[in-house]
Homo-oligomer: 336 residues x 4
């Protein structure tokens, strides 16, 4: 880390600052020039608060030479991480096609959808059992029963299952779940992330609506710092002024993340756009820019389409998307 001091900074204040830095078990290296005085800091600066230092009145600016994320940093782990999910893999050229309904609603529904998405090319089954809803008066999911039904669908189809957790106290229910999802609203629920770091389950972390790419990495870091390196990141749209889509899908995040981290990155075009007819073009775009997987909502019963999300595809639409994605991938990753 490098601190650039203001020209007006007094000797005494500079001395205080250096003393404080060194009290944090760091070494300093001072360089004075005509233009500015600079303090270089040597050691593990990940615990130093950049914002705090920037705001000191004698400081003109602060630049990190090293990033505050360690375990997820590609610098220290240049090869792509490959996360194993049952017999499936994700990352390092392995593409995950995760599909299923927004919410688990009944035994028949989840098993029918599971079979049809499997036939259409899905490699994992998603489905919400615990549902975070803006309103306390909205349907909150089938909860434990929803997980039981997902597990039944897994036994029937062999598809690994992905489902969201909202409360660390529910962890015992997730024992046979293959991938535990942390929703966008809980991306900075650090207490939950810490508990998930104590497991060895693959954890899929969705980017929060107003969270930067670096904050997403810091949330991954919470899980990894606990000893669980099985983290999958998910871009699902950020909140902007545009209202034509539910959120604004930030596909450049896929590219930026691939540069900064070795973790796999999947994209959720269903929640990002909120509109079924935009899912296919955004799924193809995600595949074209190198995403390691997709999460797509699929419903099965046209008569009940009303209750499924407006962003859900029918199985035959999903099959069409899956086929086009496969073709895009032959161009983007020809060797795989």
């Amino acid at each position: 880390m490098v601190i650039i001091l203001k020209q007006s900074a007094s000797e005494a204040r500079i001395r205080d600052l250096i003393q404080w830095i060194e009290s944090q078990n760091l070494r300093t290296h001072i360089s004075s020039g005509d233009y500015a005085t600079i303090i270089g800091i040597i050691g593990d600066t990940s615990r130093l608060d950049e914002e705090l230092l920037s705001s000191l009145d004698i400081v003109d600016g602060v630049k990190r030479v090293s990033e505050p994320y360690k375990s997820s940093n590609r610098k220290f782990h240049p090869m792509d991480s490959i996360i194993e999910v049952g017999e499936e893999k994700i990352g390092g050229g392995h593409f995950a096609m995760i599909a299923g309904p927004c919410s688990v609603e009944s035994r028949e529904q989840i098993i029918t959808v599971a079979k049809s998405v499997k036939a259409a090319g899905a490699t994992m089954l998603r489905g919400g059992a615990f549902k975070p809803r803006t309103s306390p008066y909205d349907f909150q999911g089938l909860k434990a029963d929803g997980i039981d039904l997902l597990l039944e669908a897994k036994r029937e189809t062999g598809l690994p299952i992905v489902t969201e957790i909202m409360n660390a106290n529910h962890l015992p229910l997730f024992e046979d779940v293959d991938v535990i999802q942390v929703g966008a609203r809980n991306m900075q629920n650090f207490e939950l992330l810490k508990e998930l770091g104590k497991t060895q389950k693959p954890i899929l972390i969705k980017r929060g609506l107003a969270n930067t790419i670096k904050e997403l990495l810091m949330s991954a870091e919470y899980v990894m710092a606990g000893g669980n390196s099985n983290v999958i990141l998910c871009e699902r749209g950020i909140r902007t002024f545009e209202t034509a889509t539910r959120n604004t899908l930030d596909l450049s995040a896929v590219t930026v993340l691939h540069e900064l981290t070795h973790l796999p990155v999947v994209v959720d075009p269903s929640h990002a756009t909120g509109v079924a007819r935009y899912v296919k073009p955004m799924a193809l775009a995600a595949a074209a820019c190198g995403a390691d997987g997709l999460i797509i909502e699929v419903h099965n019963d046209p008569a009940r389409a009303l209750c499924d999300g407006p962003q859900s595809l029918r199985p035959e639409q999903f099959e069409d998307v899956a086929e086009a994605v496969r073709q895009i991938r032959t161009i983007v990753c020809p060797q795989q």
Copy 2:
């Protein structure tokens, strides 16, 4: 709720929709004109998902005639709520001046700050014991010990205490805390909100960085639906493209909230701006537009200023702010 149908909507699809609505225990009223067909829905529509209905391909638009928030809605409770906190009150003309350090660091620190903010006019003491930090490597607070020290400061000064909870499992530690704060990152941690709804403690909910005013009300609704009507709302800045301040303080939210809800609204200018010298003007502006209180960070030990947040005031600065706020309030609320 009113649904405006597209001119192209077929009779059969319209019939399906009406049938589904009526299956939700709601009555409908159809009105067909040259311009459009409209379905009026009568009954408790708070459970209907507006976004879902909007996205149906036969629907041109949906308008709620009633808001989805009930308990917090001023329509059903025209008088300002007054929340009692120990012997202090907030709302309905009662102004809360909440001050204290970012984090509780030591017995000496919290008691010294508590005494000095009390002398300067604070009516409650704030201080972080559990600290949500973006990085797992940053200081996470003194936790249970921090709460003990806050309670000691309360005994010494008589000031009620306000401190943040991050995990419902910690609730037993908050038994003697006067106001439990839900941080911006947990504003949509619905599991936590539900647990707080089972208590009778005043709950101060901070607006999330990317959350709308209506979503803040829906989070209040989670607490109130559980039976706890002691909710205080807090505007603390939203995330925008502007980087000159840490966040963008949205003071019009104070005015909008006063129109929509009877709950008191406080403003946190310290976290919103992130810069100590912007705290006074923003505190005065908040008082001028009718806020029911302020939360201001104050540190005490100039020699340790480095470790306090760059947004913290010294006690004498806080005293100056408190005095100016009192004067502003004589103009804005002359009768109180």
Copy 3:
């Protein structure tokens, strides 16, 4: 347009409103129900100010049944528009590959780049002669000389040229320019748009940093209302809180625009990301979601790379992108 009135609206106020609407040469149709009174408005409501009506205290909400954009609306022109640019075409399956340097700097530079991008597959040459710069102290372009040099490059290579206008008074200089670009900062410079509407030149309008998709269409409408239907739209990133890329490329805008309008939509991944190594993945993603063209910055002289934008590709990199884009297009538009 449909106006939903509040239940509290008095007869007299409703009568006033109806009278006023009818004074605007529109007919009304009233429908009163238990739930709400609704005014349907028949006639050309594009001149009615939706925001104004929404804010009347007797109005609960307003819904447009028809969009305020007419000439650009796909409803009235279902087939894709194909814009002719010299012998090239764009839209309706014709893909434009526009490449060139950020600024025209010298005769040698622009001719060398023109030749190399042509060889690499470009169908048009871009280059800035008039440069909008945030700072008055920055290089503002070669201006008229820059346009002369672009025309020379056009004569040498046959490539049609695309360059930005900042002032309608400069129009005479653009007589031989093939496509006139309106930059993001001038998207709502309505005086400029009106003047461009009087020409028959293809006009490429870049989306403003904080402008919605609908506002972009309204700006196209300014040109088209003047009689010039040769409009090309360009997505180039919007301003959000994320700072990892210069702007956030909103690729869903391509899909939304294709639904709302018949005009061609191109994407500028160079300005959107601001980073050369992100250009290829974003170009492929744009092609995969159906964009009608790309605008890519290419510089030629490695020794002078410093002065070119950090987002510029070298010719051989551009060639690689162009080839991959062609392959993606064989999947997305197999028939072309």
Copy 4:
């Protein structure tokens, strides 16, 4: 300016960079340490493009020690600028109360409003003659006739007039206008700003919807670099995800601007909120945080209220706001 190089930067690349910097008439000062190599740049670095340098692959970061705005910078002009407008002043303790209708509609309208706002305490009259409208089909103002009517109102009341320019070609019409307004959409219409820099008229520049505080200062710089130092800045809300108000009024911008520049800063609560009943609280908040003036929309004819903006106050409401603002100012600026 200070450039921090990556540890991996080769000698040769560093030498190239230094050579290029020195070719720009700047001197360099190199400092190599264990941690990083730093290049300090001495001379007028306002012409160096920070973004370009940041993106070089050998550069880890760039920090400006001096700001790119010069004429507007408080560092070089510590005293507040006081702009004279007829016999009125603004800045340095002089407060401007600017009021009037959204658009000039008729002789009677503008003269009646002018008289009533003058009686209520306005010090200047605003009114739109040239109206920037998102839709080409909306009313675009009375144009030259509107300016004539404003001048007539000025003769009748003595109030200086403030009105918007959209095209530098219209400047001759503005000869007797007292303050020329540049609207938010034209904040970065650099061609217009340059022409205004050639006059000596006070120029009121509104902040663009998606423009940072620093960009607003750079736009002021365009006018000032031309020789016109009579610039007034205006905060009028920025575009965010929140839709409860038309824009989000960023009052901290007032405070930040007062720190960075000596120019006066006014606030427009009418356009920022878009709702008449939010104007008073936001006006008081603006006064409380030190704004140098307010621009408030006032209409006069209740029967025609429909056609005035929903954000307009009636004269008696404006009088109430003006009186409360005066009281707030006695607290904030007791000596004036």
